[in-house]
């Protein structure tokens, strides 16, 4: 890989050990994937925040770094609500370690906002055509597909290295020629829950680039759910929806695999949920519009089961009245974390979700059963249909 003289100096350690290591990570990845050079990035989003996922080793590594990020950088969800963790029955040891991790990131100049939907907080964090280094799989998918920015699926350490240097190796989805569709997915039914469609299609296309042709018209919340599910059940980083998202670059339709998805297949993702003991919404984190929809659906009801609604702190704080309406039913609006990366999920036995991403991860990461339902079915299950 070609390096500029300044980049060579960083690699030789002339500006300290932290930047040397960060450069080593970027150069190693560039070599592995055949990048010609590094490219400047507009922003970074860093996964590896929950103590549950990175443990003491991750905490030690981050704590040993010494420096400041070079571009606006934001975090992925932590393992608990940073303020209301006691209400989530998080134990003191976990909370102490989690707060140490947050503090270590703060010292590096990273914005302490723990969310999988950074694009809902700051419009300026990524625009069409920007190179960025994001590492939350659903945020990567949204940035590439809906915003039209360019990012690979970064690991936690590589996103952090990119944030410190302000650059990332130019390969993969940073190059136009890798952004062409590999699959054409014809959806022959009106889609109600895009998370179910995404869960199904992610398993089919793996790490491909699907182009959807469908008669229903997903909005931004739907696209968020669709991309998140495909990134979890497969490893999709980029997709297109004809006439809804940006157009793909020129491609050869005959080189694509053609797949037809019907109503029955989508319905196969839905599951019985008679014995659920918790219902969780907000994976990825709820938008303001989704919080309002949930508040409306809960109007006049009381929850009979645990109901968590996960969102970013900034969104919750921007809508105190909506949060109050939701919480007056006994449901909780939980910030900074989600049902997948928090150990709090582990004390239940069966979780109901409207997220294809949570459906893919909950059984393995939390060791409990997960079932899928529509938003309305989830609210009904939590309120006992009252």
């Amino acid at each position: 890989m070609h390096l500029t003289r300044d980049e060579e100096r960083l690699l030789q350690g002339e500006r300290g050990d932290t930047l040397r290591r960060a450069m080593e990570i970027l150069v190693a990845l560039g070599d592995i994937y055949g990048a010609e050079r590094l490219v400047e990035i507009k922003s970074a989003q860093i996964a590896g925040v929950s103590y549950k996922t990175i443990g003491d080793a991750g905490l030690e590594w981050i704590s040993d770094l010494d420096g400041r990020v070079a571009v606006p950088s934001i975090l992925n969800p932590a393992g608990m609500d940073l303020l209301r963790w006691r209400e989530m029955s998080i134990d003191e040891d976990f909370a102490r370690k989690q707060l140490e991790i947050i503090d270590a990131y703060r010292k590096l100049g990273i914005m302490i906002e723990c969310t999988c939907t950074p694009y809902l907080l700051y419009e300026s964090i990524a625009s069409r055509g920007d190179h960025i280094a994001w590492s939350e799989s659903s945020a990567v998918s949204y940035a590439n597909s809906v915003i039209g920015a360019m990012t690979n699926r970064e690991g936690g350490p590589s996103a952090l290295a990119a944030a410190l240097v302000g650059k990332t190796p130019l390969y993969g989805y940073h190059l136009e020629e890798n952004r062409v569709p590999t699959h054409v997915i014809s959806v022959e039914t009106d889609v109600r829950e895009y998370g179910a469609l995404g869960f199904l299609v992610g398993r089919i296309v793996g790490d491909g680039v699907p182009l959807f042709v469908m008669r229903s018209r997903p909005d931004r919340d739907d696209l968020k759910a669709l991309g998140a599910a495909m990134a979890a059940s497969g490893s999709v980083a980029l997709y297109y929806v004809k006439d809804v998202t940006q157009e793909p670059p020129q491609y050869e339709p005959s080189a694509c695999e053609h797949i037809v998805v019907d109503e029955e297949e989508i319905m196969s993702v839905y599951d019985s949920h008679a014995d659920v003991d918790i219902v969780a919404l907000g994976c990825p984190h709820c938008s303001l519009h989704e919080l309002e929809r949930i508040a409306d659906l809960l109007e006049g009801r009381r929850v009979s089961k645990e109901l968590w609604i996960c969102t970013s702190r900034r969104i919750a704080e921007s809508a105190p009245e909506t949060v109050r309406r939701i919480e007056s039913t006994g449901a909780r609006v939980i910030c900074d974390t989600c049902m997948v990366v928090s150990p709090a999920s582990e004390r239940f036995s069966h979780m109901m979700v409207n997220s294809g991403k949570a459906l893919a991860y909950i059984p393995g990461m939390c060791g409990i059963k997960a079932s899928f339902g529509s938003l309305e079915e989830c609210i009904d299950a939590a309120t006992g249909g009252s």
């Binding site: 080593e24 190693a28 070599d31 443990g55 991750g58 030690e60 690991g155 350490p157 590589s158």
Partner: protein, 137 residues
Amino acid sequence: MEIKCHRVSGGCAGGPALVTRERISFLGNVNPETGMVVDPSHELYGRSIAGAVLIFPGGKGSTVGSYVIYQLRKRGLAPAAMINLRSEPIVAVGAIISDIPLVDRVPEWILDVKDGTWVVVDAGRELVVLPDGSVHV
């Protein structure tokens, strides 16, 4: 005997070879508190990777594996050096953050090196140094 290789993570270290033809997922295959391979289905099951020159095709699995390597290093249980046919991001990043020499792009017969052979990995000079007669033929 010296063979050319490609540097992924810098440094120079030697140790007894521990060789496998199977890929390794540090998350799940290796216990970070003991340095032992704990996955019963892995060829190296029951062996310790601490202090060895670990020779394997490459890594697999979750990116958290990078942090497992770091944890091994902090506990003094990491391999002294690692050699891959082709490194991938998880092992590469794990080696870099842990200051473990790691090289790749070596000939495939490296997987025929006898276990326990003293191997030196000089990542700075992009060389692997082996004694003569160290390879199964």
